[in-house]
Amino acid sequence: MLSKFDYQRPKSLQEALTFLGEYPETKLLAGGTDLMVVLRRNMQIVDHVLDIKEIPETKRFEYKPGEGLFIGASVTVNQISESEPVKERYMALKQAADSLASYQLRNRATLVGNICNASPGADLASPLLVFDAVVHIATPQGNKEVPIQSFFTGVKRTVLNPGEIVIGVQLADSETEDHSVFLKQARIKGHDLGIAGITLRMTPSHKVSVAMSAVAPTPIRLVDLEKQISEKSLDDTLPEWLESEIKNHIKPISDIRSSADYRLHISGVLAKKGMKKLLEMGGK
């Protein structure tokens, strides 16, 4: 490792913001599962690392009826997977959490780290998109809130400015009759990055939302497709229609994991499977 960095572990948000004000290029550390690879491969030379895990606000993990679910920036992927409110109300988020990397990695990796890394294939992004998540960001000028739909700006890019810290993510409230499903295609069962991922959600009033990962420069919510679905009846023909229609709404690329053609194909298959599951779960 060529980086020679000092290590900060502030106990308060103010302390962290003050340090970042002085050294805006500081790298933030939570789970470390992305940052440690960057450091090891000398992809960036880093002078300061700031560990956010002792900041109390980042540990908050709480469901409040009417308000929804808050997931702090230090909350690990396995904490999310094991949470009762998540199992009851945000099933797609649990399924996405269980699909990410390996069990021991999920003991460290955080949901907020997954979205801040902003990979086009971020597994946890599509559930956040359908649950209308809002990203809570602390800045030197005070806190601000950014809807997840405007959080990603490109491959590995977000709206975050140097000196800002994501405190956590707030998911809109969801009822127990709210159904959602996450599906992902990878090369192998087990520890692998996704070729494509999809989350479908149907509210008790039968509003359907769809979001995907790894089929565009950022994770995306397919709003035009959702509008088309809202004009259709939720019957047995919907999954097949969705399988072909979804291909008009995504622009996947070819890379080491898959060709663009296969990504298009498998996106259709995942959409069909997911829609069938939603209808079985009581959407009709």
Partner: protein, 176 residues
């Protein structure tokens, strides 16, 4: 073997920065050490504490050879800075045997020929130890999920899964 910007990934180099005091518990013993802030927990345990059961396979969280237990949870020690272990309770494969006698889990690995070259074995043992602590009656699928982040290039995995399931059964009998 693995070079980035002329720097070998597999060689730990002291950054020369001021060392930070680290207090933690390793295999039941309280430890107070000065550590380089850029040192991984893997390098700290292996190089500084001479716990050679903690193996570096890939160094990037893919292979699981460096898996240890930290506060009861299986983690990749290559993905953690040593300084992050402040206050932590760490168990490595060296902490499994008691008074010179292998643990039941280790004995079952031997019994089922669950290792050949042995490089993955410490990581496999720590992932399965963490599983059995949390879930003493795992299904085959739960065992496979728990060790999905531990690569083995020799055994084909079946004897490992069998050994873990058998250890679960024996541990249950022993606790009666």
């Amino acid at each position: 073997m693995c070079n980035h910007n002329g720097d070998s990934c597999f060689t730990y180099k002291d950054s020369g920065l001021t060392k930070i005091e680290l207090n933690c518990v390793i295999n039941g013993d309280k430890v107070c050490e000065l550590v380089d802030p850029t040192m991984t927990l893997l390098n700290f345990l292996h190089n500084q504490m001479k716990l050679f059961g903690v193996k570096e396979g890939c160094g990037e969280g893919e292979c699981g050879a460096c898996t240890i237990m930290m506060n009861g949870k299986a983690v990749n020690s290559c993905m953690i800075l040593a300084v992050e272990a402040e206050g932590a309770d760490i168990v490595t494969v060296e902490g499994l045997a008691k008074d010179g006698e292998l643990s039941t889990l280790q004995k079952e690995f031997v019994e089922f020929d669950a290792l050949q070259c042995g490089f993955c074995t410490p990581g496999m043992l720590m992932s399965s130890r963490a599983l059995l602590d949390q879930n003493p009656n795992p299904t085959v699928e739960e065992v496979k999920e728990a060790i999905a982040g531990n690569f083995c290039r020799c055994t084909g995995y079946f004897p490992i899964v069998d050994a873990i399931l058998s250890a679960a059964k024996k541990e249950k009998e022993e606790s009666k």
